[in-house]
């Protein structure tokens, strides 16, 4: 237990591996049916989407209304590449290419708009996502409005686990580094940040590009699991859905985004039986939460897996290291 790396692995790794094993066992024993697995898949995709949008909006303070646009880029790129190369390497290449292409588009739209102070990004991203959707509806090689079918289904629980945990971990590492602190400083006070040498434009574009990459990755996960995508899946409402998760969980809280994604997935699963009033109840619940917790469930605080991990490591008196990221 002396080695901090080993301890970290135990406290955070054990609960995660347990979660992995439980779902795996559930799948093998037939306790998790196709419908439940689809819910888990959507949940994982939503976690990646929300965490990456939170990086842009919650931590860097840049309001983006077009996250579904990046998702669309990733989904179509992964889809087209895995149709052409229906193997695991092809799938991995597709995911990476989707993320990188989304990041490139994010960089190109971010560079001119993020130089400015203010909410220009919101309008630019709103427009961008619509342009992407309309383009996909009208070009030949994506099969237009009919959608892209027959994408080989490479995603399974193993991939979802690796990609979701990996994405959250990478974004967390980014935020708890000098690059992430620069971004948070810009959110806190852009003028003060610049006065101590932070290149605000660079910090904002970097966060936005990283966020776009993971948005694209989530799109790739979607395409590969649901094996059919159409442009309208990635419309304005999808962007709003992601934003709802982020705001509900708390702007500036990664664990908040994860918790909110889980909570919303649970709520919609439970509400499934009340088909007629489902959306009304869902909306009502959101209104109630926002009235009583306007800062979101977590505000900007974080909860660590260590809390769960302590149950396994029998060292309850161990003092907390300060949670640096907010």
């Amino acid at each position: 237990m002396a080695n901090p790396m080993v301890r970290t692995l135990l406290t955070r790794g054990v609960p995660l591996l347990l979660l992995y094993a439980v779902v795996l066992a559930g799948l093998n024993l037939g306790l998790i049916d196709d419908y439940l697995m689809a819910t888990i898949a959507t949940l994982c995709i939503n976690i990646v989407l929300a965490v990456s949008l939170n990086l842009i909006t919650g931590f860097t303070g840049q309001f983006s209304l077009g996250h579904a646009g990046f998702m669309a880029i990733g989904a179509y790129t992964t889809g087209l590449i895995t149709i052409a190369v229906p193997t695991v390497p092809g799938f991995i290449a597709g995911l990476l290419a989707g993320g990188l292409l989304a990041a490139l588009v994010g960089f190109l739209i971010g560079l001119p708009t993020l130089r400015l102070r203010g909410d220009y990004l919101a309008i630019a991203t709103l427009g961008l996502a619509e342009i992407i959707r309309i383009l996909l509806n009208n070009v030949e090689f994506t099969n237009g409005a009919a959608g892209l079918a027959g994408i080989p289904q490479m995603m399974d629980w193993n991939w979802f686990f690796i990609l979701t945990v990996g994405s959250v971990l990478l974004i967390r590492n980014f935020l708890r580094s000098s690059h992430g602190r620069n971004a948070i400083a810009v959110r806190e006070d852009e003028i003060a940040a610049e006065s101590i040498g932070v290149d605000a434009t660079r910090a904002k574009v970097l966060s936005f590009t990283v966020g776009a990459f993971f948005g694209g990755l989530a799109g790739g996960m979607y395409a590969s699991y649901f094996y059919f995508i159409k442009p309208d899946t990635f419309g304005f409402l999808k962007s709003i859905d992601i934003l709802v998760i982020v705001v509900l969980g708390g702007l500036g809280s990664l664990s908040g985004s994860v918790i909110a994604a889980v909570l919303l997935a649970a709520i919609s699963t439970v509400l499934q039986q009340f088909t007629a009033v489902r959306m009304i109840l869902y909306a009502l619940l959101l209104v109630i939460i926002m009235v009583f917790r306007p800062q979101g469930l977590m505000g900007s605080r974080e909860v660590s897996l260590r809390i769960v991990g302590r149950l396994f490591t029998r060292k309850p008196t161990e003092p907390d290291e300060p949670e640096a990221t907010r």
């Binding site: 992430g180 806190e188 003028i191 610049e194 040498g197 932070v198």
Partner: protein, 259 residues
């Protein structure tokens, strides 16, 4: 002795208003110079022009460091900062939701960079640099008497400590010229006296040149070697504290106030 800062004919218009017109300043290396003037004289605007918050409408700002001259007029604030000019703000601008330590770390880390890959994958340069930044930040906080509150949120500090933290954060950028905008604002006489001593100490310890805006005349007259007096955006007097105090135009600008 060489001039570390030369400002010539500096002018800034806001619409039809000339907030600053034809201001000239000279700061020799190691000097401690005051910039005073009545409310609305344009003192903070001069600071904002020097640090790139606004581009000047006209005029030049020349900063020299290590024998090289840099034209800073119209450069972005972060470029000005990296050139070697640190500043504090009249209305404190800390990162209020971050900890005291993080406030200083963010300033310090600008001189200790590592790659994006190192931050994503926690490669060795990450741990090494983070430890170094943390250590240097803590040293700086200790120097400013803030080590005990390193883990506190900046917003929870008492007012005087917030001012100290702003100075610590500015020092963390390793400046050669420090601009202090009313560092004693809102402080009581005892705190002001303590601050006076601190400014003098930091100047020697860090080899700083300091330009400070101040309303508190006792502080200005006590520690500044030279003073520029600004009124309606124009330099109306400059010289030693004694000369400035005796200048009739200065007395008039302050409406008969004893200076």
């Amino acid at each position: 002795m060489t001039d570390i800062l030369r400002v010539d004919m500096l002018t800034r218009h806001f619409g039809g208003l000339a907030a600053v017109s034809n201001v000239g300043l000279r700061l020799a290396e190691g000097e401690l110079v005051g910039l005073i003037g009545p409310n609305g004289a344009g003192k903070t605007t001069v600071f904002n022009l020097l640090t790139g918050v606004y581009p000047p409408s006209a005029g030049t700002i020349t900063f020299s460091r290590d024998g090289r001259e840099l034209a800073l007029g119209g450069r972005k604030p972060d470029v000005v900062c990296r050139a070697g000019i640190g500043r504090t703000f009249q209305n404190i601008r800390l990162f209020k939701d971050l900890t005291v330590l993080e406030n200083v770390e963010i300033a310090l880390q600008q001189n200790h960079r590592y790659s994006l890959a190192a931050s994503f994958f926690r490669l060795p340069p990450f741990a090494r640099t983070e430890a170094l930044v943390r250590e240097e930040s803590m040293e700086l906080l200790a120097l400013m008497g803030l080590a005990k509150v390193a883990g506190e949120q900046a917003r929870n500090l008492p007012y005087g400590d917030q001012r100290h933290l702003e100075i610590a954060r500015a020092l963390a950028t390793r400046p050669t010229l420090l601009l202090l905008d009313e560092p004693a604002a809102g402080m009581n006489p005892a705190e002001t006296a303590e601050l006076t001593g601190l400014i003098a100490r930091l100047r020697t310890e860090f080899g700083l040149t300091i330009l400070l805006i101040e309303h508190d005349m006792s502080l200005v007259m006590k520690i500044c070697e030279r003073i520029y007096v600004l009124d309606h955006g124009v330099v109306i007097a400059s010289g030693s504290p004694g000369e400035v105090r005796a200048n009739p135009r200065v007395i008039e600008a302050y409406l008969g106030e004893e200076v």
